[in-house]
Every structure is written in structure tokens, then in C-alpha cells.
Point group: C2
Chain length 217, copies 2
């Protein structure tokens, strides 16, 4: 049984994990009989966004506690995730990946990755454990593995693809039904809602990403 960490960043596309992407990742992993460990940083969210109006609200929420909604309570703090306990790592997207797991959203040309996340992803790379990145989260892979010229996709957006290329990544345009596979670095990416409008479309790429990550593990 393959053990896969799913890294969450809140609960909701505008300030946390994109819920559909996370749930379809969990579904594909469960269908494949994988053991899932959800993890999220125990930190305040950068923002709380009213998803009905898209307005930023004043309230404060915690990334781990909100992520627990998607995980139905089965979640651990990211700094408790041990690489020895997992065979692969997958990051769903949503603005939480760009606001809470790193600060790409506010500082696209000069951002930092959450140190606990950077540590486990870099350890996974050194250990040859595969990683999957959905939607906007490949900017994190570009930041950490651009020096190794990681090949990935964030869809077709010119601005974001230029950003990942500035970090050294090789960008490949891709639709929501497909994945880009860097077999050398064992990094798989699919653009999901970076390009798609419909949940049935993102499911196709997410299924391929999960199957590819598991096959590489």
C-alpha cells in the first residue's frame, strides 16, 4: 500500500485549498487503495475571503483547522509529517497554495516557500520520492527545483508560465485533461482549475496525476 501525503492550505479556492481539487485527489488515491495522510501548516491564513462576494474579510482563521474540514478531521500539522512515513506527496491548488504555503500571490517575483513545506519537499526530492503539483502549486516546485530545470505546467497563463521560467523551470502548456511528467525529478503536474471551468474536466487530469505519482513511487 502506497502512503501519500496530501498537503492542504485551508478550505476554499480563494484563500485556501481548492476544495474540488483536494476531494478528487483524495478520491483517486482511495480508489487506488493508497493510504492518505493529510497535512497542513499550523499557521494563520494570509487572508479570509468571502467566497460569495470575493471580498477580503477581517476575520482570522488557521490553515490547519480549516484544512481539517476537507480532511474530515484526519490531519496532522505539516511539521509533524515525516518523510519516512510516506512514499509520495501531492499538493492540490487553490489560492491557499500561493498565499499560505508560499507568498507567490503577493510577491510573485521574490517569494518564499513555507520552511516546513520546503524541507519535506526537498527531502522527498533527495530521496527520489515522487511529487504531484496541481493548479497554481507548481510555482512551489519551480521555486525549489528550478535550479534543476524541473519540467512542469501551470496551464497556459503567460504571466505565470513566465514566472516559473524565470526560476529555471521548463514550462509546458497543458490542458486539464493531461499531465506533464518530469521523470528525472519524479515531479508530475496538471493545471486543473488554472485552465478548466468544469469539475468533470479537472477530474481527468487529477486521476492521471495520481496514477502517475503512484506508479513512480
Amino acid at each position: 500500500m502506497k502512503r501519500v501525503a496530501v498537503i492542504l492550505s485551508g478550505c476554499g479556492v480563494s484563500d485556501g485549498t481548492e476544495i474540488h481539487e483536494a476531494v478528487l485527489t483524495l478520491l483517486a488515491l482511495d480508489r487506488a487503495q493508497a493510504l492518505v495522510i493529510c497535512a497542513a501548516p499550523n499557521i494563520p491564513q494570509t487572508q479570509v475571503v468571502n467566497h460569495a462576494t470575493k471580498q477580503v474579510e477581517g476575520a482570522s482563521r488557521n490553515v490547519l483547522i480549516e484544512s481539517a474540514r476537507i480532511a474530515r478531521g484526519k490531519i496532522i500539522p505539516l511539521n509533524c509529517l515525516k518523510l519516512s512515513d510516506i512514499d509520495a506527496i501531492i499538493l492540490p491548488g487553490g489560492f491557499g497554495a500561493a498565499k499560505n504555503l508560499c507568498n507567490y500571490a503577493s510577491s510573485p517575483t521574490n517569494f518564499e516557500v513555507n520552511p516546513d513545506l520546503a524541507k519535506v519537499l526537498q527531502e522527498a526530492r533527495r530521496a527520489g520520492k515522487p511529487m504531484g503539483f496541481l493548479c497554481i502549486s507548481p510555482v512551489i516546485a519551480a521555486k525549489l527545483f528550478g535550479s534543476e530545470n524541473v519540467e512542469l505546467t501551470i496551464g497556459v497563463d503567460p504571466e505565470t508560465s513566465a514566472a516559473v521560467q524565470r526560476m529555471g523551470a521548463k514550462h509546458v502548456n497543458c490542458d486539464a485533461h493531461n499531465v506533464v511528467i518530469d521523470r528525472r525529478l519524479k515531479i508530475v503536474s496538471s493545471p486543473a482549475y488554472m485552465v478548466a471551468e468544469r469539475i468533470a474536466d479537472i477530474e481527468v487530469g487529477i486521476n492521471k496525476l495520481v496514477q502517475t505519482v503512484l506508479a513512480l513511487a
Copy 2:
């Protein structure tokens, strides 16, 4: 193209809509080319629960605004939902169905259904439009249609099945891979996480429920 209202009750199994059930309902509807209209009451949540600790928190949240997280912002207030705009209605589960759409959770022997919800469900019944109820939400069908001896399932829990029977419903034990169909009233139910532990299991019953509801529409 069939038009289906999905009634949400927040965002998270312990105080709102069960997220996996809602997302898999949206997925099955999209796969079937249905047009989805998400709706939720514009009212305060009965509770806010920390899903990591299961503790009730002091904060207040709004059912419509939190539901918008699952709907990616595409949602309308329940009191704006017109029966003439839809061909069918589906209610996912989660404690929100029993805390925010009615007060079954706090008063199982003597509860009331949100008036806007009761109105649209009773109108749908009179118009012969099919309805699907997942997880705990069939208690609402039992309350509204027990006088017509609706046949439904809430899984196998003795206490909850006794409660729906007291309201006049006929209860049928059912697992997460199956549905109970009342063809006379066009009411379909599946227990989802009332009985299941795994997301891949609830998907089977939810797919059957969606397909049956659409076939009845």
C-alpha cells in the same frame, strides 16, 4: 439539459455540508451534463466546529457564505431559488443538514425544517420533480413527507431509523453503494458517510443517486 438545485448548508461535515458528498454530487451532475444551481440559506450557522479538535468555537459564520466555498462562488440564496428554474433537487449531508437546514440535531423528536427549504421541497413534491437526499438529510424528507409514508434510508443506525419511522416514513436499511428509491414520491436516498468510512465507497451510492434523480426528472 436537466437543471438540478444542490442545497448546501455550510462547508464541513461537523457544522455544514459534508464536503466530499457535495463535491461528488457536483461531479456526478457535471459528468451527466446537468446544469447545477447551488443554493443555501442566508442565515447564521447554528454552530462553528473546529474540525481538527471537534470542539465548538465561539465564532459566528453564515451558511450561504461558507457554502460558497464548495460552490466556488456560484451560489444563490435559498429564498431566491425558483422551482420553475429547476427539474430536480439534491441535498448532500453533513451535520449542517441537521443543524442549519433543520434542527434535528438539537431536537430530534420535535424539529422544524427551514421554511424556505420546506417551501421549495413541498412545491417540488406537488410538481412531481424528483429529489435526492444523502446521509442524514433524509430526516428532512421524513419530516415533510412522512405523512405520505415516504420510503427512504438513513443507513442502518437504529436511533435515526426509529426517528424517521416515528414521522411516518418507511425506513429501508442500505449501504453506501446503494440507494433507496421511492418511485411514487420520486424521492431517492443514499446513506453515504452515515455508514461509510471511505470516499470511494460514498462515490458509488452518490453516482447511483444522481443518475436515478436525473432519470426521474
